[in-house]
Symmetry: C2
Subunit: 145 residues, 2 copies
């Protein structure tokens, strides 16, 4: 499997071990991971640290020139907030583990010129499916339902 | 002037005093402020703590039922990331200090049913105009340019 998606899944699993939601992401610049992160809703009581946001935050302040050469790997289709962050910083490509359990704002990303690749990775699908089944109210809270 | 926008401006000024970008926001639930925040790019080295995001984060985890009765006051027209956060949580109304210095994603908000009110407040306009003139590169970094 894609090595970067493996790292995103490892982040998601770290989140699960911490008692949180199993969603992870990594930001890759010219083949090098410059930021990793996972959802921190439970761990930090955070409403903004989705996996993608945490990866961006952990990468730290970067110039526009850097972001424009980045790829964001995320285990789950990105919600509208994370989509907004991708668009704000002009990240040109997002690689998505799966969109079976949640279909994010892929159309908006595509409409604004972001390239999308959806892997429908079995491990991502199972991990999220299990979590949602066991924690429906936490999951709903995370997506504003 | 609107008392909540006054509080958002006070947040923006706090940011300026800390050496940061003067953009502030408050989240109001049934007439009561439940979260205040300001841009923390410089102070925290944060790429996700725009004023609106900081206000949401400081409000903490809320149920969907709460968000759906909230109003978000922000000194500046919200960028696509903050717009995404508003849409994720289903906040139905955003009151904007000004959009002369930066026109955010007001159309997207409106298209998805969020009510918008733009005050074109002179203090907000001046505060942002002065900052941008004096710190063009910081400002560009904040909006991904």
């Amino acid at each position: 499997m894609n090595e970067y998606m493996k790292e995103a899944i490892a982040e998601a699993q770290k989140g699960l071990e911490e008692g949180g939601l199993p969603i992870g992401a990594v930001l890759v610049y010219e083949g090098k991971i410059i930021g990793k992160g996972h959802n921190k809703r439970i761990q930090n009581g955070s409403v903004i640290l989705h996996g993608e946001m945490d990866a961006l935050e952990n990468a730290g302040r970067k110039t526009s020139a850097i972001y424009k050469k980045c790829e964001l790997y995320t285990t789950l289709s990105p919600c509208i907030m994370c989509t907004g962050a991708v668009l704000l910083y002009g990240i040109p490509k997002v690689i998505i583990g799966e969109n079976k359990n949640f279909m994010g704002e892929e159309e908006l990303l595509k409409n604004r010129g972001v390239k999308i690749e959806v892997l429908q990775d079995k491990q991502c699908i199972e991990m999220m499916k299990d979590f949602i089944e066991q924690n429906p109210s936490l999951w709903n809270e995370d997506i504003g339902v």
